[in-house]
Symmetry: D2
Subunit: 357 residues, 4 copies
Amino acid sequence: MNSFGEIFRITTFGESHGEALGVVIDGCLPNIDFNFDFVQSELNRRKPGQSNISTSRNEDETFEVLSGIFNGKTTGSPLTLLVRNINQKSEDYDKLKDVFRPGHADYTYQQKYGIRDHRGGGRQSARETVARVLAGAVAKMYLQSIGISIHAYVSQVYNIKLEKDYTQLDLKQIESNVVRCPDSEKAKEMIALIEQTRAEGDSLGGIVSCVCKGMPVGLGEPVFDKLHAQLGKAILSINACKGFEIGSGFDAVTMKGSEHNDAFELTESKEINTKTNHSGGVLGGISNGMDLFFKAAFKPVSSIRKEQQTIDTNYNSIDVNIDGRHDPCIVPRAVPIVEAMAALVLIDMLLRNKMYR
Amino acid sequence: MNSFGEIFRITTFGESHGEALGVVIDGCLPNIDFNFDFVQSELNRRKPGQSNISTSRNEDETFEVLSGIFNGKTTGSPLTLLVRNINQKSEDYDKLKDVFRPGHADYTYQQKYGIRDHRGGGRQSARETVARVLAGAVAKMYLQSIGISIHAYVSQVYNIKLEKDYTQLDLKQIESNVVRCPDSEKAKEMIALIEQTRAEGDSLGGIVSCVCKGMPVGLGEPVFDKLHAQLGKAILSINACKGFEIGSGFDAVTMKGSEHNDAFELTESKEINTKTNHSGGVLGGISNGMDLFFKAAFKPVSSIRKEQQTIDTNYNSIDVNIDGRHDPCIVPRAVPIVEAMAALVLIDMLLRNKMYR
Amino acid sequence: MNSFGEIFRITTFGESHGEALGVVIDGCLPNIDFNFDFVQSELNRRKPGQSNISTSRNEDETFEVLSGIFNGKTTGSPLTLLVRNINQKSEDYDKLKDVFRPGHADYTYQQKYGIRDHRGGGRQSARETVARVLAGAVAKMYLQSIGISIHAYVSQVYNIKLEKDYTQLDLKQIESNVVRCPDSEKAKEMIALIEQTRAEGDSLGGIVSCVCKGMPVGLGEPVFDKLHAQLGKAILSINACKGFEIGSGFDAVTMKGSEHNDAFELTESKEINTKTNHSGGVLGGISNGMDLFFKAAFKPVSSIRKEQQTIDTNYNSIDVNIDGRHDPCIVPRAVPIVEAMAALVLIDMLLRNKMYR
Amino acid sequence: MNSFGEIFRITTFGESHGEALGVVIDGCLPNIDFNFDFVQSELNRRKPGQSNISTSRNEDETFEVLSGIFNGKTTGSPLTLLVRNINQKSEDYDKLKDVFRPGHADYTYQQKYGIRDHRGGGRQSARETVARVLAGAVAKMYLQSIGISIHAYVSQVYNIKLEKDYTQLDLKQIESNVVRCPDSEKAKEMIALIEQTRAEGDSLGGIVSCVCKGMPVGLGEPVFDKLHAQLGKAILSINACKGFEIGSGFDAVTMKGSEHNDAFELTESKEINTKTNHSGGVLGGISNGMDLFFKAAFKPVSSIRKEQQTIDTNYNSIDVNIDGRHDPCIVPRAVPIVEAMAALVLIDMLLRNKMYR
């Protein structure tokens, strides 16, 4: 439920306006040098209030280590990381206490559990992803040490679409603008549209693309825990995500087999390569050593200032507009979360693959 | 790995040309009336050789029960179902023994395991889905008894696309044609295109759409085991699946929040409803009682008769054309498999939800 | 690894001299009234320094709630409980940094992980059981609300043995003395022996017996997760536990079938009962509604002041005597831990059993 | 439920008088040479009718392989092994259809599931252990290849007790007599007592001791999945098992710390050893490289010919005597089952330990 992974297994906890958000990592490899600055920098990438296209909330994102580190290294015991909640404005939510907000999980949580922490959305809030980013940062430390890097970026906001393939982009430019799009022209258009939409009290969705480089062959466990199936679950579990595709994805539908099949060829160093990468780096659920490539679709943020029709908890029809400090477009902030989830899948699959050696 | 589900937990086994394909269902509810005919009819829907647009292999799909049934009812003990393989032509695969077929998992299996059952693709073969359909049929029996029905259909083959929404379709027509498209005009076009492509020795992909009706509120477990995340994993684990979307899916990207949010309203019987269903029946990972709706993209079949460039197991570049009895378009036969996986997710989530009562 | 339970699933974290010890409970039922005082009182029962037969360490055992409670009730979201470590004297352990203490896990942790937090034993310390007692207290709250009570007591210390059967004891007397033996005469003997042994710088083991009353029929999952098998694992996982037996246990060996079989009979209220309870309340791994009864053997504490031969981390033979504040007999403090583990098994089995309804 | 192990994960299925008993092994290492004769010989050791001290049922124990083997080797795909039931005499059980047999799980199965396969005890029958022995044989193949051997033997039947320590026994003699006791004098006494008890229509319990040699350091996962905790669960899950102890076990209670602690010393080859082995080869839940030693207590068989008082399914008091072909003492046949469960724990812990490398 609140755990993910088979060996590198994380359990997240905490509510938007509770004491803290945190994660316990069980099955963490021992003897990883714990880089505090790196973890903090990852948290900062997810943090709200980074720019004028995101929410003005100034969430405190300084993390604490509760367990699992000794002399600067992981010990193999559960690693617990935590961020205290200190800038909540729960009173902002008082008037929403009895309202089922459209697009949110107020109604479904209430029905499922018979109780609901309405403050800031409680457990349904995307603030839970703080814990994922913390865990993902630990996973990335290890992946980087064995040469695997993960690069997510915004490839579409509403109708502004990056037509270029990831191979044509300079991935080092991703963090050069607030919308995290590696094409500076497109980035400007996206930013302008987000600002305009915010002014209108509305919101926008978009697409995050992600490429993982330095992939070994052999990650992924047939038949149900295929690499892209587990990755799909990981990504779809991120708040607001509505779709996932690996490699050619939905575009595969309008290709013929003779076009879609990636021909095998030998590199000069006599390694096996594919000429194209429609597979997205996965064959039969197992990584083939090519770049892992996938996309995730995010819906427009549900919290909008425009008036909406809904029901309250007493089953009265009411109208609601949702004030408060909300992102008009969550997609740029989803970038580090997508990377975190990808990192968690990869490290788990790497550890699972060790049994075959 | 070869198991799926937390409570209604299936484990599948068997290879394409081995002794048998089967499934053990652990956590099966006791006292379900086991309908042998229904299970057989589901198997028949998946079976190859149903029409001239599919493979001419005549796989024997008669199943056996090895355990878990007493006096025609499930007992709560592991339920084991099996289909013997009796019409394999393993010699067809002899010449492929040393070839890494493009688009297939020959290369990745060999690298991961250091051994590979090449006969009919071994464990990587889509014949494994026989076991899923068997288990799914059992799940369906229970779901039907509590009013939940699952309807998958082909909504696109290559560029022939069903523009109508599922609410405008007559779902009873799905099985009226071999391509399993509930629009008879589109079905004819699809069939014609598939036949033409077969003649060319090439293959086509497509989209399967699926709607589940009679959904209760409350299915799905935050935060990682969200209903659509688990469903996404289930569907993406089907051979050849490249993409999954829930509700509006990738189309959500070009909608604004004010358009996308589904307004809550009261029905005449004072139940909570949404006016639209962009969510696809899931809010915050929990079913909201509306129709569950999702789509899955399938790539064109990898086995084609056209000549392709590849590598053999001795790392020589070679050309290959893959003869044998292959489907030019797997999508119609994917329909019962998609339904089976959806049924497995739903029954598991139903059982998991019982702890809250 | 650091998790226990399938549905009511706990994950514990923390080291003896780290920041904190804590537990995340995933799968906690919603709407349980959270009784802070009760949880604190359970912690106090485990706390060191309760009497002059236990260690004089004054561990701070005030707990914090980090998540999962709203308006005094559980929400169904992960419940996180924590005790900060504030009275550690890590410098006491400096001289043991390079020593493999006999009977302890220093050597095996070092070999397994390649790193070891030596301060207070790190993760191997019995201080980890703080987290189990916290989680167990939550489980007990629920169990009590449905009429299940758990009573553990000390039935043997070294050679001083309580000969009476649990049915002949006044279980309300358990907490009336520091050794937690419900027979005051035996208790005095045990206390005297423990004090004498402490003076000698040596240590003692003993037996904890446990009875659970108000048991429903049907708990336990054949074939591997039998109630007593899961209970055995739970109890054996407690530090220093060397043996577990259910019902007649090892005494069953010297009984004949005609003696051992518990005859079924009808109660006046027409319920099924057994005349004797050699089974300990479990038939075929499933509770039969009789009292659940089991025993656990604990070895003498490994930390003793007497000189012992051992090896240091540089593989030199050395002699060591272990100063510091250690219990000469851990058994009385094991009582609440045994109860906690039993409660965790019972609540999990109760929730697992709900699927059959 | 019907699965055991985290990585080398077995799922057993089948009922005593159903079609078959079998096991699926998921997570089986690839490239193990599958030794058919060895598996058959292990099955034969468990088989009833081996001697005149066991049941005269002549169960057919020839196994089939359904999946997972290619060219005589395991492939890493699920390995499915099966024994068909061909000599059932279900009619023997007809008169027991409505009886809750004392000491058996008839009553608890009926209450838990609301349905019960009474034929031969259905799923509650010890015939289920056929599947465990099959899986254990595969585990042993691998363990033997890396130098780990497992030796269980009967150390007590009723009051006839083998006083010698395992180090004083010739373990090669275990299979030299039908009672599987490596001391031929004691074996004779045991056999005589069993024959006499059979004549009386009664039954006997006993103790199986087990030693595993060639143990590596590092197996076992703190804190809940300690090696001896997982082993305890495995052994306690065997039918009729009432107690488990590791190393000194319950005898530890009457030892002082100074006696019980195993002093570390260096071997001539500069490896770390302990002078004594009261720990039974486990420190803090992790193997320390010494022999793993444990004991299991088995109750007398519940099926006896003597008249017993009980209840029928209509809640009438009745008397019953249980005819049929039952073992008067199951303990000798439990020997290969204990070994199988130990092998399954060890291989799983070995694979889990690989993640740390």
